[in-house]
Structure formats: structure tokens, C-alpha cells
Amino acid sequence: MSDFLAGLLVAVLPLLGIGFWLGRRTAHPEAPGELGTPVEHATFQTLHTASLAAPPLRAGLTEETARKSARRLRSLLGTDALCLTDDRRVLVWDGVGAHHRAEVLERLAGPLETGRGEAFRLDCDTPDCPVRWAVVAPLTVDDRVHGALVACAPRESAVLVRAAGEVARWVSVQLELADLDDSRTRLIEAEIKALRAQISPHFIFNSLAVIASFVRTDPERARELLLEFADFTRYSFRRHGDFTTLADELHAIDHYLALVRARFGDRLSVTLQIAPEVLPVALPFLCLQPLVENAVKHGLEGKTDKCHIQITAQDAGAEALVVIEDDGAGMDPALLRRILAGEVSPSGGIGLSNVDDRLRQVYGDDHGLVIETAPGAGMKITARLPKYQPGVHTAGRIDRP
């Protein structure tokens, strides 16, 4: 018997867990019964329905989003049928009387042209057709008609005309917000594209000067350095894909450091500790090299003795932890905060703030750079890179030379 009970318990526990999880996901924030008067209750209901209909529309007006929001909008208006269209076709028909689709679409031409609402009677051969009358309210974004909201009812109703107009205006606002989201994404994408083509002009100048200094004294070395330079620039001017692998990024850093070492000689030493598990992790193109460049700059700045840079990549469950540490001059945290906030422009090169922006854009706000520093105490930069993120994948394979 105790076996049976024990087994039952084991069987029931996961079910309880799933039930709890489902409950948490579907729970309403507040039960309507807790509200006061019927008017307050009705207000709350209306606002709640409106807030449920909003999120799908924030992704723009498509068949998918229209389908998700139409049911909510219909209960908001309290009509028998509700239809959302774009400027050419019916996206969704929610409720009864779907055989009027074609007719409604025909009658839409006028309102879509003028951008003014209209109400009309529906012709129907079916004797007991539940909808006899429709009101059209256009959806406009920036004075351009994107589509229309059509509400159908059994008989004419002035209230419905007003209500449909209000709801259409509310939907238009959501669509405007969607437009805004869109342009913000486009802006950031453009920013990323602008950033990634940009390697520091100082670096190009310095590298060429160093190579020039070796051309007479050590032509073989100069040739090697030129090849490193070619490899690095080929990587940074690469056109396909926005993402690369950690292994490839490390190779680019290697080419970069070879050129820097030619300039500074023994003053610069680098140690690496890379967990092989995280080498295939995909990450935004050229987002670690600027950190190393920054470490080199801070490490050698205002110092005549040696500088040590440590690069660590650790496996941490579903994330890779990359740490870049130097023992150089460090920085005042307050100044750093202002640089990251974009208030002060850094003194050249791809700044930390750009890398930070890109990481936040790709992985979300909780994946920005973590920087620990103080004047004279070096700087430690930590980046957390998820092993998997939707939409982040590399274009090519890791090629071994």
C-alpha cells in the first residue's frame, strides 16, 4: 500500500508542478469580484480587454496579429461580427456572417480612399442572416490609411458608429507605436552596420608605420606583419552575416595583437585561458576586439613598464563568460559611467559604449558589459554571451588555417 501511495505521490508531483506553472501563466492580476461598484467593474473590464488586445497589434497589422486581437476587439465593441482589413484584403472575420466578406471588401474602396468612416446596409439573400448593417472605421497611421475596422450588427445603431470610431482610433495608435518600434529597430540595425565597418583609423595608421619601419631592417618580419594586417582587415571588412564565432573572433584578436606587439615589443604580454566548450558560441561580429584594444590602450597609457592582459572564456551553463583584464591605469568609475551613458565621447577607436549597446541590443538589457575599475587599479571587463539566442547564428564555419 505504501508503495502505491509513494508512487502516486511521484506521479502527482510533476502534475502539480505543471498545474502551478499553468496557473501562474494564466492567472489574472486581480479578480473582478474585488472591485467596487458595477460602474467601476465595467470600466475595469473595458480597460482589461483593451490592454489584452494591445500587445498583438504592437507587432503591426498582419493576418496573425489581426486574428489574435479581433476577438478582444469584438468583445470590446459588443457586436456580432468584427472584421479587420488592410488596404487590399480582409485579414480576419471574427463572429457570424462571414459570407459578407466579399461585399464588405467591395464597399471599403471609398472609405480607404477618403479616410472617412461610413455606415451601410448589407444586402443578404439569407432570410435569417444575423447581420444586416455594417460600420466602417479606417485605421490611419501618419495620415495614411492602412486598413479598416468593420463592425456588423443586426440593425443601425448610432452608438456603434461612435464606438467603432473610438476603437479604430485606439487601434491606430497601437499601429503607430508598432511603426515607431520598427523604425527604432531599423535605426539600431543601421547603427550596428555602421559600427562594424569601423576599425580605428589610428590603428591602421600605426600599423602601417610600424610595418614601414621594418621594411629595410627586417623585410621578412615586415612581410609577416603585412599578412597579419591583411588577415585582420579582411576579417573586419567581411560582408556576410552580423555574427561570428568566439574562435574566429579570437583569431582576429591574435592578428591584432601581433601588430600591436610589433610596435610595443616586450612591454605587452598576454595570457589566455579559454574553455574549448565555448569556442563555437556565436556572438556579434567584432565585439571583443574593441575590448582588447581598450585594454591595450589603458594598459600602456602613461606607463613605461610592462603591461599584462589576461583573456578568459569560461563555460557557465547556458552562457559563456568572457573576461578581459588589464593591469594598467584604470579609470574613474564616474567618468566611465558617463562614457557608457553616451554623455562624453571616448577618445577614439570603437568605444566600450558601442560594444555595450550592441550586446544589449542583441541579447537584452541584462547582458550588457560589466566593468570593474578604479584609477590605478587596472580594468576588468566581463561579457556574458548566451550560447543560444534566437536569430543569432554564424554565417560560416570555423575554418582552421
Binding site: 509513494a6 510533476p14 552575416g241 536569430g391
Partner: protein, 575 residues
């Protein structure tokens, strides 16, 4: 078994695991040479790591125990455990790697772009992980109690504590090296004693009747019955009894039991004469053990065997701790090569447990009665060789067994904790990963205290059945069928995996005890896997409008070798 050798061996394995996990990376990878530092994990190293993570208590102890009790039919277990990788190699390995997914929920999201399916897959990862952790903890308890006489729960608690502590503290940083180390440790721990045992068997005149006849006692032996059992006798049995048989107390009386069923109470000592065949034993209801699936296997051997084959062949691809290891391969081709190497390594390993099972039938047949058949591997060296040599080899095996518990348990805990942290617990962060680790381990630990002992390999078989019914349809259809839709995937996983899970729960609860229904529930894969596939296909066909946008590009990315990928414009979406 002499604990003074075994306990240090177990302690040594635990300490070595923790040390390699914490410092392996630091020693081997601190360099200033980029080409050394960014050398990716080669197929052979990764294959050893996958094998190390995969070979669990079920492989190390369970298979030998089952072969001992039930004979050569049980060889399907090692065959199935190995062949699962063949299916993985043919249908899943390279596309899964190219999908860029780290875990199974990642794959669901990458393929279907649906948070709901992702969460459902996460729930199944947790379920399968817990089902799989359970026998690991039980195996550890059994091993420790056989070695030292400690209570049954102690070994499980030790493994749970060590794994939780190292995983939560982030001590498994160089997990590839740890797991590869564990594979070679496990192989050595079985291979070396096996060679000695085979030599001893040769010296004994190489008796060959292990499988042909029912197992029999080769010398007079006293068997102590620890839990109440029912003996089923086909012929009269002459035995000396000190204890209670059929409700009547005896004190060293010599009895001849007539054919039929006899109940032996716990604590009874039976003395069998040389040459007596070992009687078949059933766990009596009300004992501490849940009814094994063995009974239905005897009643419907063909059905049970096919159920086992289907579960193990198709279940391997859905094991959460195996899937995450493929991420370490740098590209799809390397993932395939890794799988081939895994087949070789695991195939080599699985030659050994049946050897122990066969020798156990010859030299320790009474284990079928005392209910500790899973301990056969641990007891054989002492039985056959004796002396210090036997003790040392026994200690080696005990160390290997603990390596098996630790490696599989830590891999599973990391996978389950990862899903709990990412998809279930409210917000992300290191502290939540620790909380996730504790939860991931606490639930199976509590369950192992509650449900008692299903044979270890049987319990693992149930985890395979759930995995085969939920993840196999998702992976195979997700990779090879472009009309799969999120509602279809969700329905298929719920119906296939859900019914398999319900059947597993019913079996563990001991319901119903016998008959065709019991066989159906004890070996669910044969009906639940087709059910899962069918549901997924039908619901997908019924919702053609929900095929995710960009499916063609996604499938192209899964199947095209990485070199060609630049030609394909893949859609990049940022959230």
C-alpha cells in the same frame, strides 16, 4: 566485500572528479598562444566526454544484474543503449548542431519560433531528467550499502550533495575533461577486473552452462532473504530453513517444498545444496520494493522486447545531458564524426557488463533471491577471487560505479538546472542557477526515498520511453518535415510524452499489478511513440496556416553544410 579498500577508492574518485572539474582547465589551457588556446574540442575527446556522461548506473550495474536474473534476452539493453546513437547519427546529429541550439528547448524555439513549445519542451526536459536521476541515486545507495552496510539512502545523499555542491559552485568548468576522464575510468574499472575474472573462470575449467540451464548453485550456500519474497517452484525443492516459510516457523529444519508458490518472510536463512537450481522469486506485495517490470516481460516477452528496442533506439536523442554536449562540436560534420566515435567507445564498453552477468549466473546465482541483483558486478571479484586481490578489484569497480553516478548525475543536474533557471524560475542570474541546482537534485532525491527500488536498468528504460515519445517526434519531424507547426508539435509532445509519462507513473505506483494492461503500461514506447508522431503530424496538417514564417530558410540552415551557408540569405531577427 572489504570496506577498508572500497571506501578510499570511492573517496578518491569523488576528489579526483572535483579536482579535474575545477582545475583541469586552468592547468591545460593557460597559455599565450592563440592557436593552442582556441583549439576546438576534437571528435574523439568530445566522444569520450559524451560516453562518460552517458554511461550511467544502469550501464555499469543494471545490465549485469538483469542478465544475471533473466538471462540472454536482456542483451537487448546494451544493444539498444548503443544503437540509439546510430539513429542519432543518421537523423539528428549534424542538423541539431547546425541549428545552433544548446538545449532541447532552444531547438524547439529555433525551429518553431514559439515560446509555448519552448516551455513545454523545458517541462519534458525536467521530467526526463528527474526520471533519469532517480535510478542514479538509487544505484549509489545500493553500492554504498553493499560496500559498507550503510543504510540504503546514504549513497544517494552523498552523490546528491557532491553533485549539487560542485555544480552550484560552478566547479564543473572544464566539464569535457571531467567527463572524458570518467569514461576511461569507468572502462578501466570494468575491464581490468573482467580480465581477472575471465582468467579465474578459465582456471575453474571454463564451465559453459551459464545460459543453457536454469542457474544452479555450484556449492552449498546460505542465502539470507532481506525482503519478503514468493518462491515459484516448478519441481520439489529440498532446502534447510532457519526462519519462517508459509507462515510456519522453522529452526534449522530440512524441508522438501512441493511445487507451487511459497512465501518466505524477511530474515529467513535458506541453505541450498550443491547442484540445486535457483528458484524463481517474486517480490511479495507489501514489501519495500515496487513490482518490477520483469513479470510482464515473462508473460509477453515479444511485446516487452519490442517496447524496449523502440524506447532505447529512439530515446537517446532526447536525453537532455547528451544533447547539450553536441554544442561543443565546432560544426555539423564534427558532430557526425563525434557520434561515430561515441558508437565505437560505447560499443566497446557494453561488451563488458554481459560478461559480469554471465559470470554472476555461474558464481552468484542466489542474488536473484536476495533482491540485490544489481550488486552482482560489485560482489563478483570477492566471490571468485577472494583475498586482497579480490578486495582491490572490488574497490576499483566501486570507484568506477561512483564515477558513473557522479558523471551522469552532474550532467543531468546541469541540464535540468539550466532549464529551471531559464524557463521556470522568475528571473535570471547566478543565484537562481544555484537555486535551480538544488531543486533539480532535491526532487529526485525525495522521490528515491519514496518509491523504493525498481531495478536500475528498468527505471532508466522508463526515462528512455518518455524521451522517445516526446522528443523523438519533435526532433525528427522538426528536422525532416517542413509542414510541422507549433500547435502540432505541442500536441504531439503532450499526447505522446504525456501518455508515456502517465504510464510510467502508473507502473511506478504498482498499478495495475498484472495482466495485459500492466504490460502495456510497463513498456509504453511501442504505442506512445507512434501516438506522438501521429498526433504531431495530424495536428500540423490541420493547422497549415501556423507553419512558422521562414521555415524554408531554417531547414536550409539545418541541412546545408556550413561552407555553403553564405549563399543562403537567412533571416536575422532580433527580439
Amino acid at each position: 566485500m572489504n570496506p577498508s579498500y572500497a571506501v578510499p577508492a570511492v573517496a578518491l574518485v569523488v576528489v579526483a572528479t572535483v579536482l579535474v572539474g575545477a582545475f583541469g582547465l586552468r592547468i591545460s589551457r593557460t597559455t599565450s598562444d592563440f592557436y593552442v588556446a582556441s583549439r576546438t574540442v576534437g571528435p574523439r575527446l568530445n566522444a569520450a566526454a559524451i560516453s562518460g556522461e552517458y554511461l550511467s548506473a544502469a550501464s555499469f550495474l543494471g545490465i549485469a544484474g538483469l542478465v544475471l536474473v533473466q538471462g540472454p534476452d536482456m542483451l537487448w539493453y546494451p544493444v539498444g543503449y548503443t544503437a540509439g546513437y546510430l539513429v542519432l547519427l543518421l537523423f539528428v546529429a549534424a542538423p541539431l548542431r547546425r541549428s545552433g541550439a544548446y538545449t532541447l528547448p532552444d531547438f524547439a524555439e529555433a525551429r518553431l519560433a514559439s515560446q509555448a513549445v519552448r516551455r513545454l519542451a523545458g517541462a519534458f526536459v525536467v521530467g526526463v531528467g528527474w526520471l533519469y536521476l532517480l535510478p542514479q541515486l538509487q544505484g549509489a545507495g545500493l553500492t554504498l550499502s553493499v560496500l559498507t552496510g550503510a543504510p540504503d539512502w546514504l549513497g544517494g545523499v552523498i552523490v546528491a550533495a557532491v553533485v549539487t555542491a560542485t555544480v552550484a559552485a560552478g566547479g564543473m568548468r572544464s566539464i569535457t575533461f571531467v567527463q572524458a576522464f570518467q569514461y576511461w575510468l569507468k572502462l578501466t574499472a570494468l575491464l581490468v577486473p573482467a580480465l581477472f575474472l575471465i582468467a579465474a573462470w578459465q582456471a575453474d575449467g571454463a564451465p559453459r552452462h551459464a545460459f543453457e540451464e536454469p542457474a544452479g548453485f555450484r556449492e552449498q550456500r546460505i542465502v539470507r532473504v532481506d525482503d519478503r519474497v514468493d518462491l515459484k517452484l516448478g519441481r520439489p525443492l529440498t532446502v534447510t530453513v532457519d526462519g519462517t516459510v508459509d507462515g510456519r516457523p522453522h529452526d534449522g529444519t530440512r524441508l522438501t517444498l512441493p511445487p507451487g508458490t511459497h512465501r518466505i518472510e524477511r530474515g529467513t536463512e535458506l541453505t541450498f545444496d550443491r547442484g540445486t537450481p535457483v528458484p524463481a522469486a517474486d517480490r511479495a506485495p507489501g514489501g519495500a520494493l515496487a513490482p518490477s517490470r520483469a513479470e510482464s516481460r515473462e508473460e509477453r516477452p515479444l511485446y516487452a522486447t519490442y517496447g524496449l528496442i523502440l524506447a532505447t533506439f529512439l530515446g537517446t536523442m532526447g536525453l537532455p545531458h547528451v544533447v547539450v554536449r553536441f554544442y561543443t562540436s565546432p560544426h555539423g560534420v564534427a558532430a557526425r564524426r563525434t557520434t561515430v566515435a561515441v558508437l565505437a567507445l560505447i560499443g566497446a564498453f557494453y561488451l563488458l557488463p554481459p560478461v559480469y552477468g554471465a559470470l554472476g549466473r555461474l558464481y552468484a546465482p542466489e542474488l536473484t533471491l536476495s533482491g540485490d541483483a544489481d550488486a552482482a558486478v560489485l560482489l563478483l571479484p570477492g566471490r571468485m577471487l577472494g583475498g586482497t586481490g579480490g578486495d582491490l578489484l572490488g574497490a576499483l569497480i566501486a570507484g568506477g560505479a561512483f564515477a558513473a553516478f557522479l558523471s551522469t548525475a552532474s550532467g543531468l543536474t546541469m541540464a535540468v538546472a539550466g532549464v529551471l533557471t531559464q524557463d521556470v524560475l522568475p528571473s535570471r542570474g547566478v543565484r537562481h542557477f544555484r537555486l535551480g541546482t538544488v531543486i533539480a537534485m532535491a526532487v529526485p532525491l525525495a522521490a528515491s526515498a519514496l518509491v523504493g527500488g525498481l531495478p536500475v536498468a528498468d527505471a532508466v528504460g522508463l526515462a528512455f520511453a518518455v524521451s522517445a515519445s516526446s522528443f523523438c517526434p519533435l526532433l525528427v519531424l522538426g528536422i525532416w518535415w517542413r509542414r510541422l507547426t507549433p500547435p502540432g508539435a505541442a500536441a504531439g509532445m503532450l499526447v505522446g510524452g504525456g501518455t508515456a509519462f502517465a504510464a510510467v507513473a502508473a507502473t511506478m505506483a504498482g498499478f495495475p499489478g498484472t495482466g495485459a494492461a500492466h504490460a502495456l503500461l510497463a513498456w509504453p514506447a511501442l504505442w506512445s511513440v507512434p501516438l506522438g508522431f501521429l498526433t504531431m503530424i495530424l495536428v500540423s496538417l490541420a493547422t497549415p496556416g501556423r507553419v512558422p514564417a521562414g521555415t524554408a530558410a531554417i531547414l536550409a540552415r539545418f541541412h546545408l553544410p556550413e561552407e555553403l551557408r553564405t549563399e543562403v540569405r537567412t533571416e536575422v531577427t532580433t527580439p
